[in-house]
């Protein structure tokens, strides 16, 4: 078990974004989180990565309580994430962007550079390594998001709607890429909207609604789960099957 959230609650003023959420993710798996807009998916990621502390409850990573730690500490411990809307360092080159994220792993600037090039090659961005982010397309920026997250050499990777804004062809490429990242060392949690993507990638899926977990199961079971269908998939999908 690599990640566990225990009775997590997060309220913003009057709104309870996360309502007693308890989840467990096993090491080396691809775990999916789905749910309608506003169900708390991104808030969950923000809590895990330490962007803000929960109102109550804990988050445990590799047996260690990481609740309330600052994001950079959590990154050091091995959790990396991408943002739904890419947040690159605009006035730096793609290479420099990735270099910054390797600083916690590399012991010198030279080593950082080497690591960064390797990651860019993996993401097939090496031809644009020395281009400024400002001059690069959205798809490239999304790949850069991923490259930068990988730069921290995470053991747990949180992908927040990496598919949004991509064409069907690009989505296929992204699925392949994520599949290729799977190893025993890397656990991936994917938040997505597109059902097909989630179903084809994930070993296990949790469904959120109004900040609560309404189901957690294997992909095939989730599709047939009555509560999930009611809350999220709608009558038509269940009718199709």
């Amino acid at each position: 078990m690599i990640l566990q959230s225990n009775d997590l609650v997060k309220s913003f003023g009057g709104v309870t974004a996360i309502n007693h959420l308890s989840l467990t993710v096993e090491k080396g798996t691809v775990f999916g989180i789905i749910g309608p807009n506003g169900s708390g998916k991104t808030t969950f990621f923000n809590l895990v990565t330490g962007m803000y502390p929960p109102t109550s409850g804990t988050v445990t990573f590799n047996g260690r309580n990481i609740t309330g730690l600052r994001p950079h500490r959590i990154a050091e411990l091995g959790i990396g994430r991408t943002f739904q809307i890419p947040a690159p360092f605009t006035k730096m080159t793609l290479l420099e962007n990735v270099m910054v994220s390797t600083f916690i792993r590399a012991s010198s600037l030279k080593e950082s550079r080497k690591m960064a090039w390797e990651i860019l090659e993996l993401m097939r961005l090496d031809d644009k390594g020395n281009t400024l982010v400002a001059n690069v397309t959205l798809e490239d920026r999304k790949r850069l998001e991923l490259a930068r997250a990988l730069g921290t050499h995470p053991t747990l990777l949180l992908l927040d709607e990496v598919m949004s804004g991509l064409t069907p062809a690009e989505v296929k490429g992204a699925i392949e890429l994520i599949r290729s990242l799977r190893t025993e060392e890397l656990t991936i949690i994917v938040v997505e909207h597109i059902m097909d993507v989630i179903l084809s990638l994930c070993d296990r899926i949790a469904v959120l609604d109004y900040g609560q977990k309404i189901a957690e199961d294997l992909p095939d079971h989730i599709v047939n789960n009555k509560d999930v269908i009611k809350a999220y998939l709608g009558e038509r999908y269940s009718a199709r099957n």
Binding site: T49, M51, R70, P71, H72, A75, E76, G80, R81, F83, A87, P88, F89, T90, K91, M92, E96, M99, V100, S101, F103, I104, L109, S112, R148, A149, G151, T152
Partner: protein, 332 residues
């Protein structure tokens, strides 16, 4: 063999060609006190000081993206500390300078920790308030600082001495900026904070520590410059070393030259000082140059946010384009 000698000669010529301009410049700079009149020595010394001050501001304002509107406080603090250690404690100049720098950096760390939590406009206002507060305090603590009457130091008139000291401190400022901010991991982290602080934190950059360090570094040099200034002009008081105009100039010079660049502040300092001197020559010692400076800042924000350095790197607008841009601004 003849061709080998020819090759050696060609290489020597190449090296000489490459390094000649720079060497000549360095030689000229080093020998200023011997080749120009005392008036000009003073002018160049002052330009050097401003170049260094603008660069110091640049570290926190340009590179880190936190615009500090009270930076002059560190300069004044340094001036007073050196003045006090020399006059009330009788310590030598060098020691006073060092203490000035260190205490300035320390103060920056102390107020930086809570203040750097504020974003953009709030940080600007808070630091502005801080600057004004320091000036008030200096005016009130009159047994220590001499209050509004000011502090008098031992007279020491030696223009070449102060020229070289100023040159040294400015050189140190630029060298440190180059090494730490253009060439080291620290610089990358600082830029990342400026570009997207949240994302930087997410990829492992300890933003709080880096910001505080940058702020402390940016306060260290003004502290020393203040000390040098105090001994150089021999008499300081709250308006001369803690007035708002100090921060104003630092900001203007850095912006005009190009914030976030290494040589921008130097350019900005030279241009602003030049404009000021020329205007003084033409219109007499007045405050007309302030109007020009203010207009320059507005122009920079509107048309060349990357400063003069940025202007040199990108293309110039043709007159037609400039006019159409202006038209667009006023169209409804």
């Amino acid at each position: 063999m003849p061709s080998q000698v020819g090759q050696v000669k060609a290489n020597a010529a190449k090296i000489l060609w490459r390094w000649a301009p720079l060497s000549i410049l360095i030689l000229v700079v080093l020998s200023i006190p011997w080749i120009v009149s005392p008036l000009w020595i003073r002018i160049v010394t002052e330009v050097l000081m401003w170049a260094g001050l603008a660069q110091s501001w640049n570290i926190i304002g340009g590179y880190t993206g936190y615009l500090c509107f009270g930076h002059g406080a560190f300069f004044g603090l340094g001036a007073y500390i050196t003045g006090i250690t020399m006059m009330h404690l009788g310590w030598p100049f060098g020691v006073g300078l060092l203490i000035s720098g260190i205490l300035s950096a320390l103060l920056a760390m102390i107020i930086g920790y809570p203040t750097l939590r504020l974003r953009g406009a709030y940080f600007a206002i808070a630091t502005w308030a801080f600057g004004e507060m320091v000036r008030q305090v200096a005016t009130i603590l009159d047994d220590v600082t001499g209050g509004p009457v000011g502090l008098q130091l031992h007279p020491f008139l030696n223009l070449p001495y102060f020229y070289y000291v100023m040159l040294g401190v400015t050189g140190l400022t630029y060298l440190t900026t180059y090494l730490l901010l253009d060439r080291a991991r620290f610089g990358y982290k600082v830029l990342a904070i400026r570009e997207h602080e949240e994302a930087a934190e997410m990829v492992g950059v300890d933003t709080v520590t880096i910001k505080v360090k940058a702020f402390a570094l940016s306060a260290f040099f003004p502290g020393i410059f203040g000390g040098v200034f105090a001994y150089w002009v021999t008499y300081i008081h709250p308006d001369s070393v803690l007035g708002a105009q100090l921060t104003d100039f630092m900001v203007v010079m850095a912006f005009l030259g190009g914030i976030g660049s290494l040589w921008g502040p130097l350019f900005g300092a030279i241009v602003v000082q030049l404009v000021q001197r020329i205007l003084w020559l033409v219109w007499g010692e007045g405050t007309f140059y302030l109007i020009i400076i203010g207009a320059a800042i507005c122009a920079v924000v509107l048309f060349i946010p990357n400063g003069l350095i940025g202007l040199m790197e990108s293309r110039f607008l043709s007159p037609r384009e400039a006019v159409s841009q202006l038209k667009k601004t006023f169209k409804w």
